[in-house]
């Protein structure tokens, strides 16, 4: 008896092999994501994957579900429109750190503030991979990038803290080394009602790893293994990433809050009474 690759039914196999470099972590996250969809029981025709631009932006093109490859940084606005127009769809935004937090940073904070019912998966490779390894808002201090040849002096974003303070109801961070935990976190995020955020620290051996002398992908994965400290429920203020020191991973936030659509329906029903026509009717 032969069994098909569990990822295969969620992939556009005719586009394989993909464009990601040897050892790039994005493929690993997609592998875990396909298994998380499988386990969550969400049917393929009820799932939409929205990506922006960048290496991780290619994920939408490789997923064999309703997928949308949008303009740079605007994955969340497109996903917002999709969710409001089709409230029974499960909308997943799958993009990179530059697309979500530099070009699209404003959209992220407002989607989290409104608690839109969507899942955001950020593959954080600490650099702009597709354009040549420039500095992103998540590049750690002292790291070398093509636009910071002497090292980075800017203070980077702490993504779980940003997500929590803006109002996300589910926040987790894992590295590509933690595949089973990442799969579980993605499944929980898919099933969570409200704005759920999963950050995955991923190696970029071609640009970030090479410039910072971190070795190849395998070496970076071994580094994750030794540097990672699992602290579920940790205070997100204290999970900053540096060039050295520990990488705090785990499920940091899991709370309940009214979603955008629930709040809107409750508010207008109270204010307008019978005159309010529900979007879902």
């Amino acid at each position: 008896m032969s069994v098909e690759n569990p990822a295969e039914r969620y992939l556009r196999s005719d586009r394989m092999p993909h464009i990601w470099c040897p050892g790039c972590g994005i493929g690993t996250t997609v592998n875990c994501f396909t298994r998380a969809i499988d386990e969550s029981g969400i049917p393929m025709d009820r799932l939409a994957v929205v990506s922006g631009i960048g290496c991780t932006g290619r994920v939408a093109g490789y997923m064999h579900v309703d997928s949308f490859h949008t303009t740079h940084g605007r994955a969340i606005p497109f996903a917002t429109g999709l969710k409001l127009a089709a409230p029974d769809m499960k909308v997943v935004v799958y993009s990179g750190d530059g697309d979500l937090f530099a070009i699209g940073g404003n959209h992220f904070i407002h989607a989290a503030r409104r608690n839109l019912d969507m899942t955001v998966i950020c593959v954080n490779n600490l650099t702009y991979g597709m354009t040549g390894g420039q500095l992103t808002p998540t590049t750690p201090e002292e790291a070398i990038a093509s636009t910071s040849p002497y090292g980075n002096f800017e203070h980077p974003f702490n993504l779980p803290y940003l997500a929590e303070s803006c109002g996300a109801v589910y926040v987790a961070r894992w590295t590509t080394y933690h595949v089973t935990q990442m799969k579980k976190a993605m499944k929980e995020a898919l099933l969570k009602k409200g704005f759920s955020f999963v950050e995955v620290i991923s190696p970029c051996p071609t640009l970030y790893g090479r410039r910072n002398r971190l070795g190849d992908s395998l070496d970076e994965m071994k580094t994750y293994k030794t540097r990672s400290v699992i602290k579920n429920g940790a205070d997100t203020k204290e999970v900053d990433l540096g060039m050295t020191g520990s990488i705090v991973v785990g499920k940091f936030v899991d709370r309940e809050r009214a979603t955008y659509q629930d709040a809107m329906e409750a508010f207008y029903s109270r204010k307008l009474g019978n005159r309010y026509v529900r979007a879902s009717q």
Binding site: S2, P17, W20, P22, G27, V179, K183, L218, M221
Partner: protein, 69 residues
């Protein structure tokens, strides 16, 4: 035999994550080349495979997976 591992060598880019993180050391990098010039993994201890599919989750290229029998 508790598990089976399947390799799709033509997709492989030789990163060796599957070889490193296999908990029962089923795999090793082959000395042969794919058409793109990478060394794919090969199965050296098939009887040890537990079918845990960790190789499948680690693989960035969807080129390997395992299943329990």
């Amino acid at each position: 035999m508790r598990g089976v591992v399947v390799i799709h060598a033509e997709r492989c880019k030789g990163c060796a994550l599957c070889v490193e993180f296999c908990p029962t050391d089923v795999l090793a990098l082959s000395s042969s080349f794919t058409t793109k010039g990478y060394h794919p993994p090969e199965i050296v201890r098939p009887e040890a495979c537990s079918g845990c599919d960790l190789c499948g989750m680690y693989c960035p290229d969807f080129a390997i997976y395992g299943y329990r029998v």
